[in-house]
Amino acid sequence: MKRFYSRAAIILSIAVVAFIVASCNSFKKTPVSVVPQPGSANFATTVFLGNSLTAGYQSGALYESAQEYSYPAEIAKEAGIANFEQPLISDPGIGGLLEITNLSGPVITALPSSGQPLNSTLSRPYNNLGVPGALVYDMIDTSSFTAKAGPPRDNPFFQIVLRNTALGNSPVAQALALHPTFISVWIGANDVLGYATSGGTIGTDPATHSLPTDIPTFTYLYTTMMNALLAGAPNAKFVIANIPDVEAIPFFNTIPPVVVNPATEAPVLVNGSPVPLLVMRHDASGNLYAGQANPLYDKILLPALSLELKGVGIPAALGGTGTPLPDSLVLDSLEVSKVETAIAGYNSVIQSVATANPTRVALVDAYSVFNNFAANGYTDPATGVHLTDSYITGGFFGLDGIHPTDQGYGYVANMFIKAINTTFGANLREVNLAYLPGSIQLAKSSPSQSKWPVIPLSDWGRMLKIFQVSNMY
């Protein structure tokens, strides 16, 4: 009997051990490969062409910490693109990185442009060829890019991104020199943004230099650029994006065109009605005059705030100086309509390129995506993290009111990824916005009595210079 129990115990034990061992075949650390299906696209050599949005410009500067979260960098991570190189610039970058130095206000100041290129010896073109300030013209302009660092453009980024004519004498030439299998193009915003951010005073129209690039010129330049790329990389697939509505960015929609009580931040009411700001604006025939802002259609630009704090634009009866805000800080209803006409014309051209090449070109409808974002914001379904287009608090746009934050660029990356997946049958995962770090610079500082966001005009001037392009032809 004792032998029976003994054997039974041993057999039972062996059975249990066997069960345990059989259950544990996966205790080792092994690679987890999540390689996306590229569909009919091939991301082996991918190059991104564009402007500051493509470069990863943020809060007034191009700097390494933001470039790591540029939408090209995010797409490269999701597509598994090896050897993805960007023209990194050490923090705080170049351009004058804006920083909140006091939340009570808040007070915003620019850091010095003391960044240095970190990756300038790369012996081939960068995968991210986005150049802050670039126009569609610059994509195919083969004249000296070094000269663009001097007057009138004073734009240092062409030299930093393109570096050496031996790598190609234009962004398109450098892109093709990589023998790309996939090309992303998001260009054209500056052809209207330069006009808009100057309050309609400076333009890129070759005839007048005071209007957006005219649509025939844009059409010629854009199609020439795309034809060069389509022919130069005959097997490559493309993703191209159209131009967002400027009304969808805080630079144009943060400052209301009416007088606001700094204490309550509510509009001042006289006889029950809000009081329009005094502005320089155009009448229907295009004549400039000093008058009241159109509260429905005029856009007061973000930099007007520093003047408004000094009483400019506010009637003398309400304690202001009674002098109007200058033309350069007001995008009046006439100018808004010119901006909208230009954008519609550009987007029609961009659409037609996509339509003509349905198997090779995916189109990102940035215009609709940004308008939808402006209307509804974005709520992360998993975490509830919520982004809106509000200045500073919205979390989507950085302190320059024009360029996205890390999360904003993640959203942009997803806009591209959706189009790529749909058109090419790929299955790239989208960027998880909830776990991207906050990127609006916040410094410690002493308290201030200021009630409004203060950005010194000199800082805005430096920052906006790259958009305010003139005489470049």
Partner: protein
Amino acid sequence: MASIRKLFASLAIIAVWASSAFAGGYQLNETGAKATAMGGAFVARADDPSAIFFNPAGLSYLKGLNVMLGGELILPSTTFRSLGPISTQTDMNSISFFPPNAYVTYSMDNGLGFGVGLFTPYGLGTDWPTNWPGNTIVTKITLQTFYINPTISYSYKHLVSIGVGFDYVLGSVGLAQKVATPFTTEPTATLKGNGNGSSFNFGVLVTPVKEISVGFSYRGRANLKATDGTLSFSDLGALTGQSQFANGTVSTSVPLPATWFLGVAYKGDRYSVEADYQWVGWNAYTSLNLNITQGNTTNEKSIVGDYNNSYIVRVGGDYKISEMFTARAGVFYDKNPIPDMYLEPLLPDADRLGLNVGVGVNVTHNMAIDASYMFLPFKQRTITNSAIGFNGTYNTTANLLGIDISYRL
């Protein structure tokens, strides 16, 4: 411009708490070095003072006054790899824990036994780098419990013994995480609370023949109720003074699930073996509710876990080398209770394999030292459907060293 005054009203404090939980398989069964060395397969033997934990019916078979004191050094190591074609790895900070155990028992010749035990059957700690990708979920979490367990047992003719006990539970919980803001400044939110609770346990030990014993023990669910916990913020920088970051109070109740052991043991002249099945009632964790009060505002956050009941299969034995030395070994397989979608870096749990060895030394007639070593590999676990959108691969191993000193009068 109205938005400027309410500049931070929209900063989502909700994001702070949306994904917090003291979650997961935070059970610890390593409450005695002798039992641990045999893979925790001990309910049918329960022949040292840790019987108070494993099976209080075993108290009747101890002799005289026994005191046992020791603890378990736990050294876990976890890595997280993000999911994607280009993956980044985060190594958890190295941490160690030493949950102690202490038992005093007295057994009379008439079959009555008494005792009181102090041990830590539930506990948890994770410590991630403060700048890691999941820092808005957790940077640091601790859960400590102490069970004070007075016990009584009675045996009838060495055939059947029963034991019952009462558990008074003391505990503390702590959680630190970064607050999601649009800014480069990342404040740290810290939640701390102390609580208490109660439960009971009982056990049965049947010895139909001298060589065979069958044991069953049960410990009921306790709820660790913390009513006056604190919420505080640090690393605020320029965000100091914003009302979202005012100190607050927190109350919550952490479930400490019921568990039972069923085992059979065979005792030979020089060796013994035992096989156990342990059930753990993890479906007690459906969600954790946190009531957070800041100023006049109270928010309740419910964190869904929907854990499954789980089990542990154990087998182990010992071999008496001499009067002085006994060698021990055991293995167990521990099925984790957390559904994939609710697995979070708070507790990167996975199915575990416990490989145990140990030795017992009778230093003198009255004094013994038991030591155990456990290697505890976790299955690699890849999450692709996280409810909070935090997907990736977790790998964990742990080394555990146990020691107990027993003194018998």
